[in-house]
């Protein structure tokens, strides 16, 4: 199965990169842009056909390496590869 994993900074964690992106959007004339937060997107193919087992595997990957859960949240979607 294929996992599409999104990693975002937890609310309240300062995001200077997001702030810089927001500033650049404003400089380009996008006055409507606000509260920009940046994160990471990771795709992983999991050699597992059972969705429950694939979920457990992806969650362990996120907890142990892909996200630093002190500052980051993760979410994912699974689909048949």
């Amino acid at each position: 199965m294929k996992a599409r994993i999104t990693i975002t900074l937890k609310p309240g964690v300062l995001d200077p990169q997001g702030k810089a992106i927001e500033g650049a959007l404003h400089a380009l004339g996008f006055g409507s842009a606000g509260n920009v937060r940046q994160g990471k997107y990771i795709e992983v193919e999991v050699a597992e056909s059972d969705p429950a087992r694939a979920r457990a595997e992806v969650e362990r990957m996120c907890e142990e390496l892909l996200a630093n859960t002190i500052i980051e949240n993760y979410a994912y979607e699974l689909e048949a590869a």
């Binding site: 964690v13 300062l14 200077p16 990169q17 810089a20 142990e64 390496l65 892909l66 630093n68 500052i71």
Partner: protein
Amino acid sequence: MNASVIVFPGSNCDRDAAVALEAAMGRPPAMVWHGDAELPNSDLIVLPGGFSYGDYLRSGAMAAHSPVMREVIRRARGGTPVLGICNGFQVLTETRLLPGVLMRNSTLRFVCKDVHLRVERNDTRFTRRYDKGDVVTFPIAHKDGSYFADEETLARLEGEGRIAFRYCNLGGELTAEANPNGSRNHIAGIYNETGTVLGLMPHPERLADPALGGTDGAKMFAGLVESLAA
């Protein structure tokens, strides 16, 4: 005394650390490749600065899972002193041997300059040659050095006296201008619960010889050798 310096792909201060250690110990440390599963007998383990694994994913994240790190973590938990400098500090937080995270500098810039640090304690192996409240000069060179931890963790670190060094001005004051990266509570370095693991962003090994322009860092290595060789 035996010391080991762990070398990751992308480490670039491993030799500087080895030179500073050799000057203090009178013999060179073992250089241990990250892929080694075995670690020699070590009275001190140093995780050097650099950009292990190109800072992929997060600074220190990949190195924290290197084969040799399992043994480093085991020894650290058993009481072996571990010194993590710059990228080594980032690796220590990723292994959770030290709490918190080193985040992107608040300025978003790579900062390379000498900074003043206030020595918060001098009752550890690392700082016994300094006086409490001393203002020392170490260089910094990093982009991900902004120390972050949640309020509860910060309160615990403060309450347990686990701040090793804080960024300050020449007079030892914690002014906003003296904080080069936006670190919480001006934190430049912290200890683990037992004071045997120290992680710091500044580089003591880079000002540890008169030829380098300063010797403030040499006292850390001299103190370690003094306490560990005894």
